[in-house]
């Protein structure tokens, strides 16, 4: 029969028909074909995968190894000499690290919450606009599109005690001339304002994307059911937007937790350690104090905290909305 004769088997499949008939030989050939295709795919992707491994995976792994190592730094470089937990105990008992941890968490919670509320409000307005929406979006996106270092410089001019506009406004309304970036609480507030100004548009755009995806007829059903605008927002829009808002929160938390460039330029982490987040602290410990081990430990703990935080968030979020996404 055809199976025994390869020529007859091949002629059993009409020309132009895709492989994968019922005869066992054809199925076997199909599998081999797919394996060959998969190998080809991997070989094409290999260069990109190697680059990713070199620039992303290797540094992460190396920094984790370093955080558990005794690192000797000398004039000719550094060397890793055996494993230790000493770096972590140093970091955990380091006052500025504890402060930076609390600061980073609070900063993240405060800025992300405000950005979410203001960004959602912007998105709701944008969604309702029929005219000028594109223009307003373009204007809104300017802060987001500015390079952080540049916007930080702009804000530092504005906060300047001698010629800054904010200082001028304070004086005009009779609040004197506080040194905004010179004391702890005002400089933290100044940092938050600059961040919110820059990042709210990003949240607004994400929420707007979610809003326009919501089904129109559900709103019409709510209108027929007699829901007011306020009720519609809280009972329909907000619950349906939860997946989108979760996405925005996730993006923003990841960014805010890695906060670096804005305080680096605007406040230099000061006064004192007042505006030093974990990322700047790690950088300083590593590259100014040349404490590679503790620096790597700070980087590793920060990354771990972000991952744990995001996983927890996703878990809570899934439990809430999992069953709705059909």
């Amino acid at each position: 029969m055809a199976v025994a004769d390869p020529l007859a088997a091949s002629s059993a499949v009409p020309a132009g028909e895709p492989p994968g008939g019922t005869a066992p030989t054809v199925v076997g050939r199909h599998d081999a074909f797919r394996r060959r295709l998969a190998r080809l795919g991997w070989s094409f992707s290999a260069p990109a995968l190697i680059v990713i491994a070199a620039v992303t995976i290797f540094p992460i792994v190396y920094s984790v190894i370093m955080s558990f190592s005794k690192v000797n730094v000398s004039g000719n470089g550094y060397s890793l000499n055996g494993l230790t937990l000493h770096n972590y105990s140093l970091v955990v008992n380091y006052g500025p690290w504890r402060y930076a941890l609390v600061f980073t968490v609070l900063y993240t919670v405060v800025t992300v919450s405000i950005e979410l509320v203001v960004g959602t409000a912007f998105a709701l307005v944008l969604e309702r606009m029929t005219r000028g929406r594109g223009l307003l979006m373009a204007i809104l996106l300017i802060p987001w599109s500015l390079i952080t270092v540049i916007s930080a410089e702009l804000w530092s001019y504005m906060y300047d005690q001698q010629y800054g506009i904010i200082d001028a406004i304070f004086r005009a309304v009779g609040l004197g001339s506080p040194s905004i970036l010179g004391s702890a609480a005002p400089s933290i507030a100044a940092l938050c304002v600059a961040d919110i100004w820059k990042t709210t548009p990003f949240v607004a755009i994400i929420v707007l994307a979610g809003l326009v995806m919501l089904p129109r007829d559900v709103y019409e059903a709510a209108e027929v059911d007699g829901a007011s605008g306020w009720t519609t927002f809280w009972k329909i829009t907000f619950p349906l937007l939860r997946p989108t808002i979760a996405l925005a929160v996730l993006f923003r938390v990841l960014q805010a937790f890695g906060l670096f460039d804005l305080p680096f330029v605007l406040t230099h982490g000061g006064p004192g350690f007042a505006t030093t987040p974990l990322a700047i602290l790690g950088y300083n410990v590593m590259f100014q104090d040349f404490l590679f081990g503790p620096g790597a430990a700070i980087a590793t703990t920060t990354a771990l905290l972000v991952v744990i935080g995001c996983l927890l968030f996703l878990k809570v979020f899934r439990a809430q909305v999992g069953s709705e996404i059909s």
Binding site: P215, D217, V218, E220, A221, A222, E223, V224, D225, G226, A227, T231, K235, I236, P239, L240, R242, V321, S323, E324, I325, S326
Partner: protein, 384 residues
């Protein structure tokens, strides 16, 4: 409960498109009114205007005698079932059904009671705690119905509520919706493009085309006495065979291509105006069931055609034939999923025992009493 009155209602979109043109329509209290027509005829727009989801450009709309032109949906005391159900995806079946009652600040115990009652009527009790995403199409459809009936509104509005269901479920839900409507006795406007739904469900049916209501009548009248060629071709499946024919002088007979059909006295008496068309072209309409296979006893009026296709349906044969007369296609009426007809083609429903075969010459008895006549220039029926 209330009646609905539309007086010269117009809808013009900002781009100038006139979707609804001076529509007059009365829906009596408790009546099931079906709006039917091909896609884009304005039926859904009209329904949404009744709902308050679309502004009324001109004219007057009354619900229960009250002018509602400037009232929003929630002030009109209506309930609507949407084509895609529009259920709240984040709420359970019970919450979906009870949402409107909750908004009215009805006590929780009463809401629960009403929701349970509605769920019982619709057979949803088992799924009361599920979310829409976990339900089948038919169940979602029921939830949408439940949401409408629990409100006890003055008016029900339904926008193609069965169009997303499979054929079998659609037939089942068709009966169910009719039953619920009769039980509640609430004025209902039901939009569909499916003429079978229209015929089986409506107390009266309004046939729409290009924003204009063509005819409003009970289904049987619509079928037997269509007011124009569009309605004649739209209602009925397979569609009515419309041919151009010439009325002989004296209006005693018709020339249909090379064939001749004699018109009995009764036909002429029933339509005195027909005499005025003597010597002119008219359009005649013959429903497929009024063209049975001719036999020896058939006297006189028989037309012959070439049988091209025979579809055996078990109880009858649908015979596609062609004759040498001009077939008329009413514009917009060809959406019933039928094959496009070509020159001279017609359909007859004949007895299975007639044994007609493709390629043979078929002989069909013409039921002249039930033949329809239309003015060839404006398409209006010649009924008197």
């Amino acid at each position: 409960m209330a009646d609905i009155t539309l007086e010269k209602v117009v809808k013009v979109y900002p781009n100038g498109f006139e979707a609804v043109k001076e529509v007059d329509l009365d829906v009596a209290d408790g009546e099931f009114m079906v709006l039917v027509g091909p896609s884009g005829c304005g039926k859904t727009t009209l329904l949404r205007m009744v709902a308050g989801l679309e502004d009324i450009s001109a004219g007057t709309m009354r619900i229960g005698g009250k002018v509602v032109n400037d009232l929003g949906p929630k002030e009109r005391d209506i309930a609507m079932v949407f084509q895609n159900y529009a259920l709240y995806p984040h709420m359970t079946v019970a919450e979906n059904i009870g949402f409107a009652l909750k908004l009215r600040k009805m006590p929780k115990a009463e809401i629960d009671r009403k929701v349970k009652e509605a769920a019982d009527i619709l057979g949803l009790t088992e799924w009361i705690d599920r979310k829409p995403g976990q339900l089948s199409g038919g169940q979602r459809q029921r939830v949408a119905m439940g949401r409408a009936i629990v409100r006890e509104p003055s008016v029900f509005l339904m926008d193609e509520p069965l169009s997303n269901l499979d054929a079998k479920l659609r037939v089942q839900m068709r009966a169910e919706v009719s039953r619920i409507q009769r039980r509640l006795g609430v004025a209902t406007v039901y939009v569909t493009h499916d003429q079978v739904e229209a015929m089986t469900m409506g107390d009266r049916v309004a046939v729409m085309r290009s924003g204009v209501i063509q005819q409003v009548d009970d289904p049987q009248t619509l079928y037997d006495r269509p007011c124009n060629m569009f309605v004649a071709a739209f209602i009925g499946s397979p569609a009515m065979n419309l041919y151009e024919a010439t009325l002989e002088a004296g209006a005693g007979a018709l020339r249909l291509g090379s064939q001749r059909i004699e018109l009995p006295e009764a036909v002429r008496v029933a339509r005195p105006t027909l005499a005025g068309y003597a010597g002119r072209a008219v359009v005649i309409g013959l429903r497929p069931e009024h063209l049975p296979a001719a036999n020896e006893r058939s006297d006189g009026n028989v037309i012959e055609g070439d049988v091209e296709l025979v579809e055996a349906l078990g109880n009858e044969l649908q015979v596609h034939f062609s004759i040498d007369a001009e077939r008329i296609l009413a514009e917009g009426a060809d959406n019933a999923g039928e094959v496009t007809l070509h020159h001279g083609e017609g359909v007859a429903r004949v007895d299975t025992r007639s044994g007609m075969k493709p390629g043979s010459r078929g002989r069909f008895a013409v039921d002249t009493e039930r033949m329809q006549f239309f003015d060839a220039s404006d398409g209006l029926a010649i009924r008197e």
